[in-house]
């Protein structure tokens, strides 16, 4: 079936449209969105297996052949990320059932949630640069609404800043596409890549590459451009925060990965040098933020920035191994950041505060929560049997091999600070004398625990089953390090 790769976009889109009609019936909303999310997971798993078996899948919409129509391309990287996005959104959805509250549920929450997934899956799958812009906007519009839904003061205030930053970066995206179109005269990514290599990447293309780096750096929170993220991600409720932290910045990182491996790989001395410096500064500032705060949400938010820096460093090294390490780490990080945000959300629900100084002794009444958090914390720092380890090992090794000694050393040291920051939450929040919280002695958390436990179990399997995952990752890295595979699959010469 040739339309298979369209299904991860189509299923949530149809679900989102249908959900608009039944906003007052909350049970129906939950059932429908749950079923459609599960269906998205299943179809994206099929796409993953199909790409593993038969190589890159392309779909020319309306049978207009590339480069004249819009082509959807699912290579291994896209398929893996779509699969992860579906799993994470399913977990956040079942968490929302118990935590988001009827007020929000009556107001199109599940519908917008599905539209966010449409935007993310579409951005991962598209093979056309302007279509990427459109899917970015689908994703961003949904994220504006999810961010402000509920209308508390802090949400209103932070949404204004978040929308303003994203309007500016979207306008820059349009400008960058306009410049690129005036040079190469095409919008299809494979065709752009071919034409850029025909004219051997002159200076103006490098300028456009840096403009794209600024645009995607604003979306993906890279060093001088992450200023909007700590405030904005602090505002929404926990499941929304989890889906933002796991998916939105990663779409920016994916776009950097795609543009710098496919479109502009010819003048790496300049562009990748810039990317490398920005990535290292991202790691440093993220780590400083993570250890500075005593607010549990802020600590996890700054950990997102550290992870973005690590992945961007892998892209900047630009060897087969470092790209494989980046893909490993990207998938691990999406999964574990969602789990951490959901766990932190449960802690806030129990204690009614996100100030770490006011929390202690949670392990006495909530041992399950405590040990799940402990496992998640070890995973995010990259302790060997768990999933954060292997990606970082490959990344650091290839960094040393290619002579990026400083960057690789900083990646290694950042792990220590990340471990310190998440363990600070564990030691201060879970150990010590139990306190009385306004919500009462015992809050029922068992149903909320389902989603983060699922994600942590997934992380453990991802860490232990490296042998099983490895062929998928190396197939993704192969396409990234050799753009000809992608071009030939799309243009079919």
């Amino acid at each position: 079936m040739t339309n298979l790769i369209l299904l991860p976009i189509l299923v949530p889109l149809l679900a989102g449209i249908i959900l608009i009609f039944f906003t007052k019936n909350i049970h129906l909303q939950r059932w429908l969105s749950g079923i459609s999310s599960l269906a998205t997971v299943v179809v994206s798993a099929f796409v993953l297996l199909k790409v593993r078996q038969d190589g890159i899948q392309t779909l020319a919409l309306s049978s207009w052949e590339a480069p004249f129509g819009i082509t959807l391309v699912s290579d291994m990287l896209s398929a893996l990320l779509v699969f992860m996005a579906s799993i994470i959104s399913f977990a956040c959805l079942i968490y929302s059932f118990r935590s988001i509250g009827e007020q929000r549920e009556r107001f199109y929450y599940y519908s917008i949630f599905q539209f966010l997934l449409v935007g993310v899956n579409g951005a991962f799958t598209t093979g056309d640069i302007f279509n990427l812009f459109v899917f970015f906007e689908v994703m961003l519009m949904s994220s504006y609404v999810l961010l402000v839904l509920g209308g508390t003061k802090i949400q209103l205030r932070e949404s204004i800043k978040y929308i303003l930053v994203n309007i500016i970066s979207s306008a820059l995206f349009v400008v960058a596409v306009g410049y690129l179109y005036s040079i190469v005269g095409t919008l299809n990514m494979a065709h752009i890549s071919q034409r850029v290599s025909e004219i051997n990447q002159p200076g103006i293309i490098t300028v456009i590459a840096v403009l794209f780096l600024i645009v995607f750096g604003l979306k993906g929170a890279i060093f001088p451009l992450f200023f909007w993220l700590p405030g904005s991600y602090n505002a929404p409720p926990a499941p929304v925060m989890a889906i933002f932290g796991a998916l939105l910045t990663k779409v920016g990182i994916y776009s950097i990965m795609r543009t710098f491996t496919l479109l502009f790989p010819h003048d790496t001395g300049y562009t990748h040098q810039i990317l490398s410096v920005m990535a290292i500064l991202t790691i440093i500032t993220g780590a400083i933020g993570a250890i500075a705060y005593w607010d549990i949400k802020k600590i996890i938010i700054y950990n997102i920035i550290v992870a973005v820096g690590v992945i961007a460093f892998g892209i900047s090294v630009m060897s087969y191994d470092s790209l494989a390490g980046s893909v490993f780490y990207l998938i691990h990080d999406m999964n574990i950041k969602a789990a951490l945000f959901l766990l932190v959300g449960i802690m806030i629900k129990i204690t009614g505060t996100s100030n770490l100084r006011k929390i202690s002794g949670l392990i006495a009444h909530y041992p399950g929560l405590g040990w799940t958090y402990f496992l998640a914390a070890l995973t995010v720092a990259g302790i060997p049997p768990l999933s954060g380890f292997i990606g970082k090992v490959i990344l650091v090794r290839s960094g040393f091999e290619e002579g990026h000694y400083w960057g690789a050393a900083i990646v290694l040291m950042s792990s220590l600070l990340v471990l310190f920051s998440v363990m600070k939450i564990f030691i201060n929040g879970f150990w010590g004398e139990p306190k009385d919280y306004p919500e009462g002695k015992k809050v029922p958390v068992n149903q909320l625990m389902i989603a983060p436990v699922l994600l942590v179990i997934f992380a453990i399997f991802y860490g232990l089953g490296i042998e099983a995952v490895q062929p998928y990752i190396s197939q993704a890295a192969e396409t990234l390090s050799n753009p000809d595979i992608y071009i030939n699959a799309v243009l079919k010469e």
Partner: protein, 113 residues
Amino acid sequence: MEILMAFTIGILFMSATYLMLSKSLLRIIIGTGLLSHGAHLLLLTMAGLKRGAPPLLGEEAASYADPLPQALILTAIVISFGVTSFFLVLAYRAYQELGTDNMDRLRGTEGND
């Protein structure tokens, strides 16, 4: 012609940047409007402003204007229209709820749980 357009777009971008750096929220929204005007004009200009018939096959002309950027601009216009209307309503709601349109007073951590 392209040179003239480039200067016009540059002035639009300059005014947009200036307005977006000001304190009042409405001035910022006007700035985003100018910014998207600039971006759309730039798309049109960068595709070339050569003479040609409008892209309608009924014209049966020897050469036509490039139809692709026009479609791109149309898409970008409706998107920025949607975002702008959302932003305006958000600003209205924020004015009702927070009682200010001064960006300097939209800070601090009160109401933060």
